[in-house]
C-alpha cells in the first residue's frame, strides 16, 4: 500500500463514492478505509500514550490498526465532511488520536517548541472535504498540524478541486 484513503463518509455517499473511486483508480496501490462502521472514540487527553504506555493509546478501539497504516503509507488522504466551518468531529478525532506517534520529549524548531517524533516517518496528509468551510483556514490548520507532527501537508481541497489534490498526491 502506497496511498491510504480514509473516509469518514459512508461508501454510499454519492460525492465521496465518485471521488474515492477516482482516487483509487489514479493513485497506485491505494487502500480505502471507511471509518463509519468502526469504533473510534475521541482522544481523552489522558497523556497515557506519552507517559504511561509510551506509543500506545489506552483506548482499545479500532483506531490503533488505522494508526499503524499511517506508518506504512506514503501519504494519507482524509475524505470527510465539514461542520461549523471545520472538519466534522469524526475527522478531527482521527487527528487527535495520532499523538502516540509523538513523544513527550521536546525540541525547538525555528524558535518554537515541538514534540520529538517517535518514529522516523515523514507523514504526508491531504484533506478532501465536502460542505461549507473556509479553505484558507483549513489549509492553515492542516499545515500547522502536520508541522507539529514533523510531517508535510499536501493541502486541503473541496471535492470540486480533486484535480489539484491528485496532482499534489502524485508528486509527494
Amino acid at each position: 500500500m502506497e496511498y491510504l484513503i480514509v473516509s469518514t463518509l459512508p461508501p454510499q455517499h454519492e460525492g465521496a463514492a465518485e471521488l474515492i473511486g477516482q482516487l483509487a483508480e489514479t493513485l497506485p496501490q491505494a487502500e480505502v478505509v471507511y471509518t463509519q462502521q468502526m469504533k473510534i472514540s475521541a482522544c481523552l487527553g489522558c497523556n497515557s500514550c506519552w507517559l504511561k504506555t509510551p506509543g500506545r493509546c489506552p483506548i482499545h478501539d479500532d483506531y490503533e490498526p488505522l494508526m499503524l497504516k499511517f506508518l506504512q503509507a506514503k501519504a494519507v488522504v482524509f475524505v470527510c465532511d465539514t461542520k461549523l466551518g471545520f472538519l466534522s468531529y469524526q475527522a478531527k478525532n482521527l487527528f487527535d488520536r495520532i499523538l502516540p506517534l509523538a513523544t513527550m520529549y521536546l525540541t525547538i524548531v525555528d524558535g518554537q517548541m515541538r514534540h520529538i517524533p517517535r518514529y522516523h516517518k515523514n507523514l504526508a496528509a491531504a484533506v478532501l472535504y465536502t460542505g461549507q468551510s473556509d479553505n484558507a483556514y483549513l489549509n492553515r490548520w492542516l499545515a500547522r498540524a502536520m508541522l507539529n507532527l514533523h510531517g508535510v501537508s499536501l493541502g486541503a481541497y473541496p471535492f470540486e478541486e480533486k484535480g489539484a489534490a491528485l496532482d499534489a498526491l502524485a508528486h509527494c
Binding site: 482522544c43 504511561k52 478531527k92 487527535d96 520529549y105
Partner: protein, 220 residues
Amino acid sequence: MHLLIVSCTPRAVAASNTDKILTAFCEGFEAQGNTTERYYLARRDTWPQIRDAFAQNDDVLFALPLFVECVPGMMLEFLETLTPKAGKTKISFLLQGGFVEGCQLRCCEAYLETLPAYLGCIYNGTLLKGGMFGVSFVPDQQREKVLAPFVQAGTQFAQDGCFDKQKANEFAQPEYLSKGKALVLRLSKPVQKMVFRKIAKEKMHSTEPLDAKPFLQVVK
C-alpha cells in the same frame, strides 16, 4: 453577570488542567458578586442539561485545551448537537495549551473567532495561555503561583464583560520564545527528560522508556 461555563476538555475533571484554571478564573470573576454555573463535557450523560443551559443563557464561556492545533474532537461533537440561537448570546473562550508560546494557540484562536456565528451567537473574545501542561502535576504552592494570573483575568473579565484583545495578547506572553529561552531549553534537554521520566514514574506508575517504539517493525 451570570456566566454559563462549559469545560470542554475530554479529560476527567480530577485530572483536568482546564478545570483548575477555571476554578482560579471563577475566584476572580465571582469576587465581585457575579455568579457562574459550570458543566463538563467529559460527563457525557449531562449533555442534555448543558444544551438546555446553553439555550437559556446569554453569557457563555467555553474553556478548552488545545488539541492538534484546534478544538478537541469531543467538543466539536457536542457543538454539532446544539441548536443555533437568535443572535444575542455572547460566547467567550478560554484556551490553554502545553507549549509555552502564545503563537502555538493562534491557529485555534482564529477558528474560535468564527465559531459563534455558526451557532447564531456573538464572539466575545478569547483568553489564551500556553505553558499549562504541568498544572496538574506541580506541588500545590507552585500551582497557586501558576494560576494566580487567571484569578486576575477573572476579575478583569467581570469588569470588561469580554476578553479585550489587547489585554488578552499581553496575558498570552511570551508570543515566541526568546533566543535566550530557546537556548536554555536546548541546553536543559537532559534535565527535561529526567523530569518527564519522574512524572511518568510517580504519577503514572510507569518505568517504560518514554521514547519507546512499540510499532517500529511496521514503519515504511
